[in-house]
Amino acid sequence: MSASPKPPPRNPNKPFYFNTSEHLLRIGRQKACTLDELVRGVETCPDDAIFQHTFRTLQEHHFIKQGFSNDFASWTLSALNEPMLAEQLASVDVREFTAIEGLRRRMVEMIGDFLHGNPKSASRSGSEPFYFSASELVVLPTNFSAGTLRGFLDGINQVSVHSIHHHFIEARLRLRRMSNDFSTWLEEEAGLKEVGEAIERIDIYTNTLEGVRLQIARIISEAIN
């Protein structure tokens, strides 16, 4: 029996409005010279500092495909030369979290576990301090909105990578669920659940944000053509 042809996707019920977020870096009052100080800082710094050093720094370095994950991992390697802990911290995927608190706890646990096994590393000074910073965020509209899937694809292709980051990565903190604005809209407004799931599976740590954009566009293009 031959498979029945795929039904054409339905027209979306509501348009998708592409927004973007821009950030200003606020210099914090805390700094850390050792792992002990780092873990205390991670425990006590404001949420927008955790956001800056994880979500936001990923956006700032969106053009690097390999070797950059978050500021805590970078500093642990470059200033403290602790490659094992650096690898562990770098493995934390910000998209596994829908709230900053969970991300903060994971980082604290990782550093704590490492120090439990390597107590001598706790007070060893790094070659340079870690400066805690925070991100002040302003959400802005863009010139793009889409009432059709074709228009949605055009928007994906033309908005800035900051807009891709806003909808695809930061969205979890807004939605408070393991999804993103693109997948949510495709599922809820166009009935394209599988397409949304395929987009959600894109690996942001082995791609640049331009690469992520291309993959999203390819998945949508295949679904509507």
């Binding site: 973007t20 821009e22 950030h23 200003l24 870096l25 606020r26 210099i27 009052r29 700094k31 700032e60 370095h61 969106h62 053009f63 690097i64 070797g67 950059f68 970078s74 470059s78 340079e128 301090p129 400066y131 910073s133 002040e136 302003v138 802005l140 509209p141 863009t142 010139n143 033309q158 908005v159 800035s160 900051h162 807009s163």
Partner: protein
């Protein structure tokens, strides 16, 4: 030293013979028989060129993309008609004036009217402020009552001369700090933009200036490590370059070739370049030593291009040291250029295979940003603000010694694919963070954030 053995120094001794056409050879250094003779700078470089008109916002579209231009316009829309005043201490010369020359028209073009005022003062004022500048950088200084009086008197004169009716007043650097006394009500935001490194200031000068700084609504620094503990929020603004300026605009292959020919640089062989004033803190002698260590393994030429040796006795002494360190190596090309040679510097950077910035102390190295923007693999010392500009092994290479610098020169010259990737990443890093459009965005963001904070305070 015979004339044919001297390194090339325009204005004193520059090789006039055409460059050789030998093929590059990474394994063995190539010696060229180049006859040097006294030669002055090309006639075109003897007088400053007429500056071109400042670019418009849309001129940056092809560089940063339409979406980034749209973002700036959306940000400016809510601020439409609200004015900014920028105040600094010099209208020409120096990085701040250069940046304001470009920034002010762009903000005004987006209907955020931006005015630029320059404070005035006698020689005694600028002697005091120069001493303050050095003291804030950590030099020893005996602060006297007389110096305080001179500083305050000229600021009072300027304060009475100037009006502060704008919605955001930005004071650049310490010289005009006491203008904050004109802040009579909560009408405008007052922001202090500090372009210098305050990590290790002279205690007395800091104690004298801090009460003024504490009255500002926000302070801006060029690196986290330059900041101090202050009551007001502090923000990070990277110093920026203009990709459309003479120093950074795209050049044709012919333009680059012509400049190299004028300076006797052989483009068929690898070129390692440092662009910097002849200043001990830029360690040009260290660069010569690093080059000589690298040359045991790879063929390359060294270009040291900069100025400061004509009008500064210390610069002349450093230049002499560099010439002595260079010895009779005809592949070391030393260029003492006048300050208006931005186009030539641009061409030299673009002709380079690797760019070095081996500073011993540095604020935020604009020459590093220029190199990154040109997609050149960049080796720089891990000092001052440079670690904010380069992520080691990803967007450039950080070094801590002459030996480390030499090794990285060898490594990048013999691993062109890695060098290319680092160069591409470095350019993206510059595009994302260090272009003038990024700083226009930061000013607009700050203005909106301060507006929002004030609105919240009123509601509370």
């Amino acid at each position: 030293m015979s004339s044919e053995q001297q390194p090339h120094v325009p204005g004193s001794s520059l090789a006039s013979a055409p460059p050789s056409k030998e093929e590059p050879n990474a394994a063995a250094p190539v010696r060229r028989d180049r006859r040097a003779s006294d030669r002055t700078l090309p006639a075109s470089l003897l007088t400053p060129p007429v500056p071109p008109p400042p670019p418009h916002l849309d001129d940056y579209r092809s560089i940063v993309g339409q979406s980034q231009i749209d973002t700036l316009r959306f940000l400016a829309r809510e601020l439409k008609g609200k004015a900014i005043k920028m105040v600094n201490s010099t209208a020409v010369g120096g990085g701040v004036a250069e940046m304001l020359n470009r920034m002010v028209p762009l903000l005004s073009e987006m209907e955020v009217p931006t005015h630029w005022d320059v404070i005035t003062g006698g020689n005694d004022f600028f002697e005091v402020t120069k001493a303050f500048h050095n003291a804030l950088h950590g030099s020893a200084y005996e602060l006297t009552r007389s110096a305080e009086d001179i500083f305050l008197m000229y600021n009072e004169q300027n304060r009475h001369r100037m009006r502060f009716e704008e919605e955001m007043v930005v004071i650049h650097d310490p010289q005009p700090l006491p203008l904050i006394r004109s802040r009579q009500d909560a009408r405008g935001h007052w922001v202090w933009r500090c372009h210098i490194d305050l990590s290790n200031p002279d205690a007395r000068v800091w104690a004298f200036l801090k009460p003024f700084i504490e009255q500002y609504d926000a302070a801006i620094f060029s690196a986290q490590s330059f900041a101090r503990q202050l009551a007001a929020p502090q923000y990070l603004f990277y110093p920026c370059i203009d990709p459309l300026s003479e120093k950074n605009k795209e050049l044709s292959e012919e333009q680059i070739q012509k400049v190299c020919e004028e300076f006797g640089i052989d483009r068929s062989r690898p070129i390692v370049t440092q662009v910097s004033r002849f200043d001990r803190l830029k360690d040009p002698v260290g660069v010569v030593h690093a080059y000589k260590l690298a040359r045991k393994y790879v063929d390359c030429q060294l270009v040291l291009a900069g100025g400061g040796a004509t009008d500064d006795p210390e610069g002349a002494a450093v230049l002499q040291d560099v010439k002595e360190a260079a010895g009779d190596d005809p592949d070391i090309i030393i260029l003492n250029l006048p300050p208006w040679c931005a186009f030539e510097i641009n061409a030299l950077q673009r002709a380079s295979t690797v760019i070095v910035q081996k500073s011993l102390k540095e604020g935020f190295g604009l020459t590093v940003t220029e190199a990154l923007w040109k997609g050149k693999p960049t080796i720089a010392s891990a000092v001052g603000g440079i670690p904010n500009q380069i992520i080691h092994n990803l967007t450039g290479v950080l070094v801590h010694s002459v030996e480390g610098c030499a090794f990285q020169i060898r490594y990048l010259l013999t691993h062109p694919e890695l060098a290319r990737t680092i160069g591409i990443n470095g350019r993206e890093q510059a595009k994302e963070n260090f272009l003038i459009t990024a700083n226009v965005k930061r000013w607009l963001l700050l203005f909106r954030i301060l507006d929002q904070a004030k609105a919240r305070r009123r509601t509370a």
